[in-house]
C-alpha cells in the first residue's frame, strides 16, 4: 500500500510540475505587452502618443 500511495503521489506531483513548467515557460516566451516601467504604451513601439 505504501508503494501505491507513493506512486500515486509522485505521478500527481509530476502532472503539477509539468503544467507549472509549461505555464512559466509560456509567461517567459510570450511578448511583454502593456505596463512596463510605469508606461502603459511600451516605448519600443515608438508611438508618439500615450501616457508618460
Amino acid at each position: 500500500m505504501m508503494i501505491a500511495t507513493s506512486g500515486y503521489f509522485l505521478v500527481s506531483v509530476s502532472l503539477i510540475a509539468a503544467l507549472y513548467t509549461a505555464l512559466v515557460a509560456w509567461l517567459n516566451a510570450a511578448p511583454h505587452k502593456g505596463k512596463r516601467d510605469g508606461n502603459v504604451v511600451p516605448q519600443r513601439y515608438g508611438l508618439p502618443y500615450g501616457p508618460r
Partner: protein, 158 residues
Amino acid sequence: MILLGTALLLLLGAFLGNQYQIRYVAEHANRSLPFYLKFSAVWAGQEGSLLLWSFLQALFTALAVGRPSEEVRPLARWATVFLSLITAFFVGVTLFLSNPFATLSPAPSDGMGLSPLLRHPGWFSTPLPCTWATWAWRSPLHLLWQHSSADKWTSGPA
C-alpha cells in the same frame, strides 16, 4: 523527469516485491515469474507503458530544452511550453484514466502472470521500449534540429 523516474522504479519495486495488492502487478506477474521477466512486466500493459512513455517524454524534453544552444534559444522557450504540455497530457492520462498504482481489495495471493508473447527475449526487450524511446527522442530533438537547419536554408549562401 526525476519524479516520473522514481515512480517507474517504485512500480518495478512492486513487481520485484510481489505486491499483488496493486492491480497492475497482479494482472501482469505471478510468483513463478523469473526475475529478469519482472522488468519487462513493467511495460507489459497499458498503464505501465504510459508511465514509461511519460518518463521518456519528460527525459528527452529535459535533454532537448534544458541547455539550449544559442542557435535554438529563441525557439527553446516555446518548445518548453509545448513539450511540457505534451508531457502533462501523458501524465494526466496515466493518472486519471490508466493508473498503474490502482489497488485491489482484497489483495490476491498470487498474480495472473505475464503474457506468453512477452516471455520471448526478442519481444520483451526490443520492440516496445525502443519504439517509445525513438518516439520520445525524435519529437523534441527533431523540432529543435529542424528549426536550426531551416534557418540555414533561409539565410542563403554564406
